[in-house]
C-alpha cells in the first residue's frame, strides 16, 4: 500500500498540481505564483532520524505510532513541530492543498467571508478569492449536486455541510450521484469530492443538531468514509481525502475542534484506509473512533490502574474497515469491545461487529461487545444528553465484564 503511495508521492512532488483527465486547461491567474516546495527545502527541515527510517521523499505516508507510544494524543514526535488546534490543522491541510492544486475549491454555507462556522475555512476567501471559497445559499441539495457536477469535469470541490445533519437534505445527491456515477458511467467520470462537516453529539445542541450520519451513509457503494480525531490525523486525512480520486466523506466532531496538539512542520498525509494504534495492549481490543477515543483513553487510565492492559485502536476508516489491523489485534487479545457514538441500531458498531464475527470468529474468546449511543433523539437536558452517549465508567464496566 505504501508502494502505491510512493508512486503517488513521486509524481505529485514533481508537478505543481495533479493533472486531471479532462482536457480543460486551467487558466487560473495565480497559477504562476503557486509555489512548489522543493525537495531540498523539505529535507533541510527533515530530521535525519526520519530520513533513516523512511529513506523516502518527504511525505510521510503512514499513520501514527507504528512504534509504541503510551500517550494517546501524541503523533510522530518530531523535534520541530508547531502546536495548533484541530480546526487550525484542518485549515492548514485545506490551505496547503489549495495552494498545491488550483482545481481544489471549497463550497458551503458561510465558508467564505464569514470564515466558516467552525473557523475551518478562516482566511481562505481572502487568499483565494470568492470563486475558490464559495459562499453558497442555504440549499444543501443544490450545492452538493453542484459540487458533484463540477467534480465530473475535473474540479476537486470540498463541500462543507455546516452540520452533518444538514447533509440529509443532500442525501440523494450523495447516494445516487456521488457514489454511483463512477460505476454507472463505466469508469468515464471520477468524482473526487470531499464532503466534510461536524457531526456528533455536542453540548446540548438539541436533537436535530446532534446527529451521527455515518450510519446512514455507510452502505452507499462507491464512497469512502473517514473520521478524524486528533489534529495530526485531521490534517493528514483532509489532505489524503482531497488528493483521492474517490468521493470521501470526512466526519469531524463538534466537540473536538479545540483539541490542541503539536504536529510536524513537514508535509504529511495519512492513509485513508488505515486504522491508528493508539495504545498497544494485551488483554482486550477496544475499537473506537472520533470523540469516543477520548472517553476510551480516559477509561484506559482507570483500567490500567486496575491492572488491565487494553489495546486501543482508532479505526479512523469507517468505510472500508481496516480489517487487517483489527484482525491482528483480535488475534492477539481475543476480546473485542467496540465503543462508538452511533446509534445502536444499524450503526458503525453493528457493521463492525458483523465483520469481526464473520472474519475472526475462531479467534474470539468472548462475544463482541458493542457500546453505542441510545436509540433516542438526543435530548436537550445536559444530564440526559450525557447518558445518551457512552461514558468512561460504562467502558470500564464493560471491559471488566469481558475480561472475566
Amino acid at each position: 500500500m505504501s508502494a502505491i503511495l510512493q508512486g503517488g508521492v513521486a509524481s505529485t512532488a514533481l508537478s505543481p498540481f495533479k493533472t486531471t483527465d479532462s482536457n480543460k486547461l486551467v487558466t487560473a491567474p495565480s497559477r504562476s505564483s503557486l509555489s512548489v516546495r522543493s525537495r531540498s527545502d523539505w529535507s533541510k527541515s527533515f530530521g535525519s532520524r526520519l530520513i533513516a527510517r523512511r529513506s523516502q521523499p518527504p511525505l510521510i505516508p503512514n499513520a501514527v505510532a507504528t512504534k509504541k507510544t503510551d500517550n494517546a494524543e501524541s503523533s510522530t514526535s518530531s523535534k520541530s513541530g508547531h502546536e495548533l488546534l484541530l480546526f487550525e490543522a484542518l485549515q492548514e491541510g485545506l490551505e496547503e492543498e489549495m495552494d498545491r492544486d488550483p482545481h481544489v475549491c471549497v463550497m458551503g454555507e458561510d465558508v467564505g467571508h464569514y470564515g466558516g462556522s467552525y473557523k475551518v475555512t478562516k482566511g481562505l476567501a481572502d487568499k483565494f478569492g470568492d470563486l475558490r471559497v464559495l459562499d453558497t445559499p442555504i440549499c444543501e441539495n443544490a450545492f452538493t449536486g453542484m459540487g458533484i457536477g463540477a467534480a465530473m469535469t475535473g474540479l476537486r470541490p470540498v463541500i462543507e455541510g455546516m452540520n452533518m445533519g444538514f447533509l440529509l437534505l443532500a442525501f440523494n445527491q450523495i447516494s445516487n450521484n456521488c457514489g454511483m456515477l463512477h460505476y454507472t458511467s463505466g469508469g468515464q467520470f471520477t468524482i473526487p469530492v470531499v464532503i466534510r462537516g461536524p457531526g456528533g453529539v455536542g453540548r446540548q445542541l438539541g436533537a436535530e443538531h446532534s446527529q451521527r450520519l455515518e450510519s446512514y451513509f455507510q452502505s452507499i457503494p462507491g464512497i469512502q468514509m473517514v473520521a478524524c480525531s486528533t489534529p495530526y490525523n485531521a490534517k493528514g486525512l483532509m489532505k489524503a481525502a482531497i488528493r483521492s480520486e474517490n468521493p470521501v466523506i470526512l466526519f469531524e466532531h463538534v466537540l473536538l475542534y479545540n483539541l490542541k496538539e503539536s504536529i510536524p512542520d513537514e508535509e504529511y498525509i495519512c492513509n485513508l484506509e488505515e486504522a491508528e494504534m493508539v495504545r498497544p495492549g494485551e488483554h482486550i481490543t477496544i475499537l473506537t473512533y472520533s470523540r469516543m477515543r477520548y472517553h476510551v483513553m480516559q477509561a484506559a487510565k482507570t483500567l490500567v490502574n486496575k491492572g488491565y492492559d487494553p489495546e486501543v485502536i482508532d479505526i479512523r476508516s469507517l468505510k472500508p474497515f481496516d480489517l487487517y489491523t483489527i484482525g491482528n489485534s483480535v488475534k492477539k487479545t481475543h476480546r473485542v469491545l467496540i465503543v462508538e457514538e452511533c446509534m445502536r441500531t444499524g450503526g458503525i458498531g453493528a457493521s463492525l461487529t458483523a465483520a469481526i464475527n464473520e472474519n475472526f470468529h475462531d479467534y474470539l474468546d468472548a462475544p463482541v461487545m458493542c457500546l453505542s449511543s441510545q436509540d433516542v433523539p438526543t435530548p436537550y437536558a445536559g444530564t440526559l444528553e450525557e447518558w445518551t452517549v457512552v461514558q468512561p465508567a460504562q467502558i470500564v464496566t464493560a471491559v471488566e465484564q469481558l475480561c472475566q
Binding site: 453542484m146 457536477g149 445516487n176 463512477h182 458511467s185 469508469g187 472500508p320 484482525g327
Partner: protein, 388 residues
C-alpha cells in the same frame, strides 16, 4: 458518397439531373427560413423568427432524426422481445430538440439530461451499436453495460448523462456550468429536464445559484405535457415553465421545429455567456408512453397522439421543407430512410452478438485505485475484494 448510390439506383427508373443532385448534400449556401410559431419571451428580447440554415444542414437534420426515430422504434421492439429490461424511456417525437440543439453548439459545450437520453447520446456523437449494447447490457455498451437505459454517458463529447432521479441532474448541470466558469472557458451547459421535474425544489435552488453567480447554464424544460401520467394542468399551478424563473429570462420555443430549436439554442448560448442563466421551454410531445411499461393511452386519447403525429411531427416537417425547397426528392428521402433503417438493423444485430460483461466487472469501477483502496480479508493474504 451516399448520393452516388442514390443516383445509381434511381438511374433505372428516371434520369435525374446529376449535377443538381450531386451538390445538394454538401451545399452550404445559406437559406433563410421562417419558423412557423413565434417565440414567447420573458425578461428578454426574443430572437428573430428567420433562421439561417443550409440545404446540407436540413438534410442532416432529416437523416439524424430519422436515425433517432428508427433507433427508438427498434428499442421498442427489443424491449417487447425482452432483450431490453427494466426501464426504457423513449424519445420519439422529441427528436427535433436533440438535433436542433446540436446544430447550435459545439462538442465542448456540455449537455446533461435525465433518463430519456438515448437520442441525446446519439446527437452527441454516440454510436448506434454502443447505444444498443448498453440497452441490452453488453460489455460494448457506452457504460460497459453497467448503466443501462438511464445511464448513457460520453465524456469526450461532454455528454454527462443519463440520470434516473427526476430533477437530480439540475444541480449537477449547475456544477458543470460552475466548472466552466471556474476554468474561464467560453462554453455553456445545457441542463435538460422535463415538465414533471420543473416542480422540484432543486430546480429553484439551482436557478438561484446560477443567477447569483452568473453561471453559463441554460436550463431547458422539455415540456411534453405529461409527467408520466399527470398532465401539466394537473401538476403545475403555473404551466408557463419559461416564466417560472422569475428573475431569470425565459424563452418558449416550438420544440417540434428543429430550426426553431436551433435558433433558440444559439440565442441562449450567446445570452448565457454574457448574462448568466436562461430558461428555454421546448414545447414538444412524446408518442410513446412515459416508459415501455406505460401504454400512454390511459391519460390521453389516441386521437390526440395521432393528431400531433399528423400536424406537428418533426420529421415530416423537415421532409416538407426539403421537398418544397427542392433540396431532395421524395424518392431520395425514402432511400435515405431505408439506409438509416439498415444502419439501425445492423447495429442491433451487432449488439446482439456482443458479449455480456465478465463476472469480475461486478467490482470494477467502484473506486479509483489511487491511495490503495483494497479491502483485504483478515490475513491480508486472502483478497476478499479488490476495488480497482
Amino acid at each position: 458518397m451516399a448520393l452516388s448510390r442514390l443516383s445509381l439506383r434511381s438511374n433505372r427508373f428516371l434520369k435525374p439531373t446529376p449535377t443538381l443532385l450531386r451538390h445538394v448534400s454538401t451545399d452550404t449556401t445559406p437559406i433563410t427560413i421562417e419558423t412557423a410559431v413565434p417565440f414567447e419571451s420573458h425578461l428578454c428580447d426574443a430572437p428573430s423568427r428567420s433562421v439561417t440554415t443550409s440545404s446540407s444542414e436540413i438534410l442532416t437534420f432529416f437523416r439524424d432524426m430519422a436515425r433517432m426515430r428508427r433507433m427508438e422504434i427498434a428499442a421498442d421492439s427489443l424491449y417487447k422481445s425482452k432483450l431490453i429490461r427494466g426501464f426504457c424511456h423513449l424519445y420519439d417525437g422529441q427528436e427535433a430538440l436533440a438535433v436542433g440543439m446540436e446544430a447550435a453548439i459545439t462538442r465542448k459545450d456540455a449537455i446533461i439530461t435525465s433518463y430519456r437520453d438515448h437520442c441525446t447520446f446519439l446527437g452527441r456523437g454516440g454510436e448506434l451499436v454502443d447505444a444498443f449494447s448498453e440497452l441490452m447490457g453488453r460489455k460494448r455498451g457506452c457504460s460497459n453495460g453497467k448503466g443501462g437505459s438511464m445511464h448513457f454517458y460520453k465524456k469526450d463529447a461532454c455528454f454527462y448523462g443519463g440520470h434516473g432521479i427526476v430533477g437530480a441532474q439540475i444541480p449537477l448541470g449547475c456544477g458543470l456550468a460552475f466548472a466552466q466558469k471556474y476554468n474561464k472557458e467560453e462554453f455553456v451547459t445545457f441542463t435538460l429536464y422535463g415538465d414533471g421535474a420543473a416542480n422540484q425544489g432543486q430546480l429553484f435552488e439551482a436557478l438561484n445559484i446560477a443567477a447569483l453567480w452568473d453561471l453559463p447554464a441554460i436550463l431547458v424544460c422539455e415540456n411534453n405535457h405529461y409527467g408520466m401520467g399527470t398532465a401539466t394542468w394537473r401538476s403545475a399551478k403555473s404551466p408557463a415553465y419559461f416564466k417560472r424563473g422569475d428573475y431569470v429570462p425565459g424563452l418558449k420555443v416550438d420544440g417540434m421545429d428543429a430550426l426553431a430549436v436551433k435558433q433558440a439554442c444559439k440565442f441562449a448560448k450567446e445570452h448565457a455567456l454574457k448574462n448568466g442563466p436562461i430558461i428555454l421551454e421546448m414545447d414538444t410531445y412524446r408518442y410513446h408512453g412515459h416508459s415501455m411499461s406505460d401504454p400512454g393511452s390511459t391519460y390521453r386519447t389516441r386521437d390526440e397522439v395521432s393528431g400531433v403525429r399528423q400536424v406537428r411531427d418533426p420529421i415530416e416537417r423537415v421532409r416538407k421543407l426539403l421537398l418544397t425547397h427542392d433540396i431532395a426528392t421524395e424518392k431520395e428521402l425514402k432511400d435515405m430512410e431505408k439506409e438509416v433503417r439498415k444502419e439501425v438493423d445492423d447495429a442491433v444485430a451487432q449488439a446482439k452478438e456482443s458479449p455480456v460483461p465478465e463476472p469480475s466487472e461486478l467490482f470494477t469501477n467502484m473506486y479509483v485505485k489511487d491511495c490503495g483502496v483494497e479491502s483485504f480479508g483478515a490475513d491480508r493474504k486472502e483478497l476478499k475484494v479488490t476495488l480497482p
